[in-house]
Symmetry: C2
Subunit: 391 residues, 2 copies
Amino acid sequence: MPHEITPKLFFKQRVMTPGPVEVPPDVLLEMAQPIIHHRTKQFQAIFKELCDKLAWLFGTTGPVLSIAGSGTTAFESAQTSLILPGSKALTIAGGKFGERWQDVYEAHGVEQIKINVPWGRAVSPAEVGDALKKNPGVSVVTMCHSETSTATAADVKAIASIVSKTDALLLVDGITSVGAMPVKMDEWGIDCLVTGSQKAMMLPPGLGYVGLGKRALDRLNNTKPKGLYNLDLRRWLKSHAKNDVPFTPPVSLIRGQVVALKMLETQGLETVWGRTAKLAAATRTGFEAMGLKLASQSPSDSVTGAFYPEGVNDKTFRGAVRDQFGIHIAGGQDGRGDKWEGKVFRVSHMGYVDAGDTLAALCAIETQLIASGHKTTPGTAADAAAKVLLT
Amino acid sequence: MPHEITPKLFFKQRVMTPGPVEVPPDVLLEMAQPIIHHRTKQFQAIFKELCDKLAWLFGTTGPVLSIAGSGTTAFESAQTSLILPGSKALTIAGGKFGERWQDVYEAHGVEQIKINVPWGRAVSPAEVGDALKKNPGVSVVTMCHSETSTATAADVKAIASIVSKTDALLLVDGITSVGAMPVKMDEWGIDCLVTGSQKAMMLPPGLGYVGLGKRALDRLNNTKPKGLYNLDLRRWLKSHAKNDVPFTPPVSLIRGQVVALKMLETQGLETVWGRTAKLAAATRTGFEAMGLKLASQSPSDSVTGAFYPEGVNDKTFRGAVRDQFGIHIAGGQDGRGDKWEGKVFRVSHMGYVDAGDTLAALCAIETQLIASGHKTTPGTAADAAAKVLLT
């Protein structure tokens, strides 16, 4: 049972994986309300509120569509709906999720110019600019803002300013950035921004969100779908204009999302971004104080990854951190070339997580690293992190 | 607010539309449990239980996949994953949903032999047999077991016995039949059976289920996907073999579904089917006693539809039934040819609904029909229905 206090060391359960993340009690209770029908004024009012709050969160005057499914469903719908028939996609990857978007275009037979940077490094804006110059006929550029598998953040703002000067649309995977880190869709010139419900949006999995800027809307209005039904964003847009969705929506999740977004609104985005950044900075400091090497050279603020010291077994380590301290953290992931499973572990800073949870995680990780033979003085991580958190 | 008692006539709110339907309190509370991560033994145990119970419900020894999204997502994945490249689909429609599956194949450029029967009539097994004889090269037959838009049930058992003797696979939309009416996947020879969470499964919307028989599995193992990623059932099957899903699943819905399925298990499927049939029979009897004409010549037991008497305005009528009596019922739907919006109304018998709810609905409908000028003696519908229910 999660969230009971484990008998051994008096720790509660804390889900600190980079998705799903903890869902605030008020959101859980809202979702436990009796079902309502989706073709009612009551639901339409809730849905309208969701759309308005999503637009605020994304920083866009364009529509933000709510699509039933995983973040992958939402991103695939954007990829396949926005690519021009016969054109090429410039696809940037430096981790498992960037590679997934390459796999999606591969499955759909879309020709790609691939930029694959080493895992843990972010693509540079210059690399993107050069690739666009060298390769005419690119109609979509895909990238991850925060690559969850390597805990790496890319400079979307700078890249958007380059892509927006071309005919290509910039499609950004903001699945672990929206609601955690500054992302300003219209101001930065992002044409399409996608996120999922189970990250900084503080909801269970089951919904993906797709924000569409002016250039993306023009593209959709002027191209014909090919081999798409459910994933065809034109279908969703048409319903959206009537404050509706084309297929029965996950009404409970939508109700919960409105409550979660109200919480973000009350706190203020700058506060939320600031807190997330602080928790991340404290975690990085704590990890480095223990002598760990960070997974990323360009760390994201929504998730922190570190390489295991020599001799620590991933499964045993994370199992103990979970079973003895109640802290659920994630391991590494394997990609096409790079294999990070067993080599890194990752801790999330998204959503309903605070300084106390972060200190608890650092303490558990440190204690278990020492038990696994790593040399560090007990208290080092918490002490270093506390200095960051409390100043 | 739903489910408060309306001040005017002391009625609670009752969602009796053919999806979403009421979710039992125990299921709502289960979904309100704190989030758990999906890559854990705890979740795997829950997921295994879900898969086992789904197989029991579907009546199959094959896998039943749980796909995030709407029922449409699940059905499109089955349609596109199972069709042989270059082959034809025989698509049967007699309502909005049958037509939707034709639209899906249209969007994917699949050649179709269409059987379009008049709305309210079920296709006959002979029509299907003839079409298959006349049209070689059909690799998939699609049909609705219960066509929700017209409240019509088709004889899937007889049709399956015909299709199973050919090389074509039978793909059945059981979205408003599974859990409400007898459907026996393996025994009847259905190759692929699809349902959604928000109907007789007693869950909020957000999950679709795809059951695969032996012939469907063989087909999947021997064909290559084309233009599919998320919707490619091969990807889901590969994960399923490891008791997993390829993309972050809606963990809360999955937990809730296990509890809802336990309820069906405790009651027994025969009991659930019998109750649903009884509620439907009582409703039909009540409608006919008031002089209404049923929407279907071959009525489904999961939903009952009736034509409005002359002069009753759909929106005003359903608005009053909802606002004054708390009963949420559905209107008609428009198709490509037939336009039933404004002409019929529909009441669901699926899931967490009892004799009391059904009598309340009949009483409200009768009272409001009389207020709209329809001539019938007050008490007629409830009296006729009660005789069916209590004998």
